[in-house]
Symmetry: C2
């Protein structure tokens, strides 16, 4: 099984290749790009222990000179200081303009490696080998790279496109189940905002809460359609002028929940799941969406082992306040992405605060 998605951009188009077992072919995939011989592979110790050797062997077999750089696991290490350390390794190994930085890891490793590649020698080649479901279907596509500022997430960064995204679904077997579910939240999002067929395929599955229950075929479809959805949206709006906003479905309230719970108790995917439930509810109440479709969405979210209710200790007023101070809020208007039918959304900043409050109260545990 091999799916190839072409990401077409005015400059720097590239391909996303999705194929089980492809990690063992990494070297030959990169060989086709005609890049320089030096590759700096960036990963974290845990991921490297699982997949480092496979990747290294394949790259070396294809004749590449490979160096490695390891960054300790976790979002706390997504810092400018970690980037400075990648630079040091790049310098030590004499990376050139024609050399490549390769990210082997989840979104944290991908975002950082991309930013280092974007800024070393004013830009060297970059290859993504995403290993978490979230990074496969979301973080590795679209060219956003960067790190956190001590006072805010993803404030430092660059738009920089990879030369290749290589997805081997088999690496998901070692992904912690909660991380898998978090990625499923984004998959369901694509079904609701863009791809009704994907949504239907997800509905057809018995279980979605653990990769162990997914057939290789369904997983391939999920990855391919999700990547295609993001690539389509991003291809139409590379620098976030308009359309790309629909990718924030579920993220408006989701971000507020993440921020209020200190990015710890509830992870990103879980927050997005609750955010989609809330947005769906709002859409139904505004008579933009049918209750029947809303129920279908929420059923999928539950089937993926994701929460559909706001934790009791979260105050609705606090959520509304956080919404209003979000950096994306223009002139006090909170922007919502609301579904109108499965596969279609609309953007609006005309949701009354009272309605948001009402919905938040309704979906409380």
């Amino acid at each position: 099984m091999l799916s190839v998605i072409a990401v077409k951009l005015p400059e720097n188009s590239y391909e996303i290749a999705i194929a089980p077992g492809s990690l063992t072919q990494l070297g030959s995939y990169i060989n086709k790009l005609n890049l320089g011989k030096k590759i700096l592979l960036v990963s974290n110790p845990d991921i490297f222990s699982h997949y480092g050797e496979i990747a290294l062997t394949s790259l070396k077999d294809s004749g590449f000179d490979v160096f490695t750089h390891s960054i300790p696991e976790g979002e706390v290490n997504k810092t400018l200081d970690s980037i400075a350390q990648i630079y040091d390794t790049a310098l030590e190994n004499y990376l050139e303009r024609s050399s490549t930085m390769l990210a082997l890891g989840g979104g944290v490793i991908g975002d950082m490696t991309g930013f280092a590649a974007a800024t070393w020698l004013r830009g060297i080649n970059f290859v993504q080998v995403p290993t978490s479901l979230l990074s496969m279907v979301d973080a590795s596509i679209g060219g956003k790279t960067g790190v956190n500022h001590p006072k805010g997430k993803n404030l430092i960064g660059a738009f920089y496109q990879p030369r290749l995204v290589l997805i081997d679904p088999q690496v998901l077997k070692t992904l912690p189940v909660r991380e898998f579910r978090a990625g499923m939240a984004e998959v369901i999002k694509y079904g609701v905002i863009w791809d009704g067929d994907l949504f239907a395929k997800l509905e057809g599955a018995d279980r979605l809460d653990d990769i162990a229950y997914l057939s290789e075929e369904l997983l391939q479809i999920i990855l391919t359609r999700s990547c295609q959805a993001k690539a389509n949206v991003v291809g139409k709006d590379e620098k976030e002028a308009g359309l790309r906003a629909i990718l924030n479905y579920g993220h408006t309230i989701g971000h507020a929940i993440e921020s209020l719970t200190g990015y710890s108790v509830i992870n990103h995917g879980e927050a997005v799941a609750i955010g989609m439930v809330a947005a769906g509810r709002i859409a139904t109440k505004l008579q933009m969406w049918t209750q029947e479709e809303e129920i279908r969405q929420n059923h999928l979210i539950q089937k993926a082992g994701l929460p559909t209710k706001i934790p009791t200790d979260l105050n609705s007023e606090a959520v509304i306040e956080t919404l209003q101070t979000d950096k994306k809020v223009k002139a006090g208007k909170v922007r919502f992405i609301l579904p109108t039918q499965i596969g279609k959304v609309t953007i609006t900043d005309r949701v009354p605060s009272d309605l948001i409050r009402e919905v938040l109260e309704e979906i409380r545990i």
Copy 2:
């Protein structure tokens, strides 16, 4: 007097405006770009003491909210750490995607402010107000931004275009004379590699070693033609694929001299001057250039108060060795830009080491 040069690029074209006294009009120039209201002005204490108030007043009069950030003077401060400090100020003042970072200073301030603008929120607006001759005719044009790595110059950076370059020639009055001459080296370079008319205009001047002797008209011509030359070259080769290499005329041996003298005794412009003398000599010896034109070039260099001889304590073998380890050297071949007639150069990697050695010995003090 107002000259406007359009820098045409596939994306992100912009204008260079050159006009005496234009610093007092800074606000209205930026107003025309329809950017957001917030501007972060970045400068160093000395330049700010000369021109900060003028710039601030003009910006505020045009209705902008202006914040300032100061970086201590000097190349030693062109570091990732200084960038992190710009980020902090950007965050404190809630800069948004629509906000602008404005560089008021020489190449050091310009390179850093540009890099910060390129990477804050993945890219906000950037405006250049270069204050040194070198930054006016060279550093502010072409989109190269960045900082030094502790072990190498300009290794960290991004290609990022400004929205506007505003040049007020009058600020050059306070520029130390040695800095002025360093900038003249690049001006003469443009005359040799691209613009024979500019070369002739320079030959027509009585003195070129101090701005006090230049008429306002000649200065305007020098700035306009130099910027035009760089803009032309860069416009044809934004990302340094080929043509842009001709801007390195005089820089091959120049860089070696700078590096061997530890970037202290001899400044960049002086090293480039010596490099042009050497390259010119090589071209004549290879019978690619006439001795007459070579003499005319060297005469101009002297008239600009720039050195034409290699300092005695610099060993020719050391220069040749440094040439060979330069990061731009491919497969041991040193690439030279050689003049064929005033206004035209050619690129070659076929200069025998013996010839380089011979020339280095000849131009020794």
